[in-house]
Symmetry: C2
Subunit: 402 residues, 2 copies
């Protein structure tokens, strides 16, 4: 698998584009994006589990029941969440206009939105931008689409890689956005993936669910879960491989690996570009009594404001880690716990190894590092990717209306 992060890539069977509609602000920034397949595609979707679901989530979930779609329409600047029936109406109207312009059925157009919650979404400005949006469509337009879905993101996030599936080379390109309100069961996290592999809809859903579980559901920025999260995966089939219907088909594992790599890569980029983040930290819990305990312990540490501010300060403050573990609900004996910072042991049997403190502090200053916690209570493990909590996070969220 050749893995490269580039904004310029092509996935046979797809075109993408973007335009400035003035949803964000009337300052010429790209804020509407479109990805279109040459024909109806098997398409899978994973959505937020927040009880409050944005209108585009409701609409796309409904339209994906068929297992097929033709286009993804997205906007930033307005989440179209908490907007009731008028919000759903706006989403329907906007996708209908795009469908008409593209000559496809409106049921074939998915929608995703990100931005301020609760603000009514006006279709007018997007309608006026539609001709420009359609005109922008190009095989290598994913980079522009990635820019158009940014909110507090500081960099556009793209992924492209190729692999061999059952003797045929296939590609997978994707774009994502994140930044704040990130926590499992997704985030203000949008991710659109396109592959030219031929895959049956049911299997495509299964591949995506597993990939999301191994990636986006293991990251956290601030413990908040958005109302708008969604991940879409479209498969054009243009590569011409024998259609994949399950993991035992030749090429199934290669496809799963490719989709998981895409999700992991974009998840990592999202954490690294978390609001105000200055570093990325892997919280790896091993030796837990159960998978649930491992997950609870890892997330409690990864979301503790005290741990995250210590991370920002470069302080190997294992006391805060131990305190977070203690309130996580995971079962363990505090006098058994070992804690390592990138292999430098700082806690042995629940007690501090103070002689290692300066080496651990050095690890904590790295832009990317791992806190490994061995609970010595069993065999289960779970790893969460998090970032630090900086003054900048507060500034962004005190000033930004999201």
């Amino acid at each position: 698998m050749t893995d490269r992060a580039t904004e310029t890539f092509v996935v046979p069977g797809f075109r993408a584009g973007a335009a400035a509609a003035g949803v964000k602000k009337a300052d010429g920034r790209l804020d509407v994006a479109l990805i279109v397949a040459d024909g109806p595609c098997p398409t899978a979707g994973v959505f937020t589990r927040n009880l409050v679901q944005a209108a585009p989530v409701v609409l796309s979930r409904e339209r994906l029941r068929s297992g097929y779609a033709r286009a993804i329409l997205a906007n930033s600047g307005n989440a179209n969440a908490g907007t009731g029936a008028p919000g759903l109406e706006a989403a329907r109207a906007w996708t209908a206009l795009a469908a008409e312009a593209l000559g496809v059925g409106s049921e074939e157009v998915l929608m995703a939105s990100t931005g301020v919650i609760g603000l009514p979404l006006s279709v007018g400005p997007m309608e006026r931008a539609l001709p420009r949006l359609i005109a922008s469509l190009a095989p290598d337009g994913f980079g522009a689409a990635a820019r158009a879905i940014m909110t507090t993101d500081t960099v556009p996030k793209t992924f492209f890689a190729r692999t061999e599936v059952a003797g045929v080379e296939v590609g997978l390109g994707g774009i994502g956005k994140g930044a704040g309100m990130i926590r499992p069961d997704l985030a203000t996290m949008l991710c659109f993936l396109c592959t030219d592999a031929r895959v049956e809809p049911k299997y495509l859903s299964r591949v995506l669910s597993r990939a999301v579980d191994a990636s986006f559901n293991r990251i956290t920025i601030d413990g908040d879960t958005s109302t708008n999260d969604c991940v879409f995966l479209m498969a054009s089939g243009a590569a011409g491989n024998a259609p994949l219907a399950g993991p035992n088909d030749r090429g199934g594992p290669a496809l799963e690996e490719l989709v998981t790599a895409a999700c992991r890569d974009l998840a990592h980029r999202i954490v690294a570009d978390g609001e105000g983040a200055t570093k990325v930290c892997r919280v790896a819990v091993i030796g837990a009594a159960s998978a649930f305990d491992a997950q609870r312990a890892a997330f409690t540490v990864a979301e503790s404001p005290l741990v995250k501010t210590a991370l920002f300060g470069g302080d190997p403050n294992w006391g805060r880690i131990l305190a977070a573990l203690g309130r996580s609900g995971a079962r363990f004996d505090p006098e058994d716990v070992d804690i390592f910072f990138d292999g430098v042991q700082m806690v042995a049997g629940g007690l501090g190894l103070w002689s290692n403190e300066s080496r651990a502090a050095e690890v904590m200053r790295r832009p990317e590092m791992t806190i490994q916690i061995d609970l010595k209570a069993g065999q289960a493990s779970f790893t969460v990717l998090t970032c630090d909590f900086s003054r900048e996070y507060v500034s962004i969220n005190a000033d930004y209306r999201s």
Copy 2:
């Protein structure tokens, strides 16, 4: 009940004092405190529910099984948590030295510590300070004791009030500390209360548990729960009232009211002095389907970093509140929700009342305000006291070793 916050008060039957032992830093700041009763007192204690429990918590819990105590010894600067057997040994040794100097049994001395976790606690400096600590004991020494237990607190926290219990005037004086790592099931939260009322030990425990549940267990600063929290209540009996053995005894309700008032007042002071806090916010959930739902919804909103940074920014960002409610696990229909900021309705039936935005923004700039959320799903309610999340919180916790 006369309620006043003063550092100078007297509770018959008690003396208090403080000294600088150099536990915090060798800069002359007060860091050891002592409260002593003239004789053995019925004493109640409530402790952290964190699985990781500091040595003084283990020791005091054990010693309080009798229902009686004579003294409370406290230090700041070192939590004596995550310190294993040597930590417990240090707590035993230090209380034994104090007991000897006071001429009481060491089993009668409770201990409480707050400060850095994981650092070994040396008894030497505290031993050398013991003569000065004993010499400082005075009936009006509570103010000095309140200063000695401060960590990142910016102001000492005291409470004093009198009430009539069964025809006899009784007083209750207390000191507390908080600042960070605050969340229900207590916090790095120490609170020592002394009353001259005569109360049976069992009833005293019950009164304290109920008061803590109505106060300290309903505050949150950062969602972190400390390893060291404890609340003690000693009753000297010097007021000479007929001993209270239950809520139906004449004077029982008056005592409960007094203890609850003390806990509520100190809990409020702790939130108002939360690390970096610039304002206090009451998150009041009503109309929940169950008490558990109400509590989950209130805490999820009160702990959401996005809600707390919006509070700091003075932004009536109800979308973030709705998103937090949606991930709380509480059952409700998003299209029924009403949200008020100090009586200014900002959300009706899940939709924003944008015409009220400027008035709601004005409310958000107040130093103290209430966010009321009506889920319209039942009759249960729960209120949590929280504070905002400022750049200063990050600075304090990135730089302070706790």
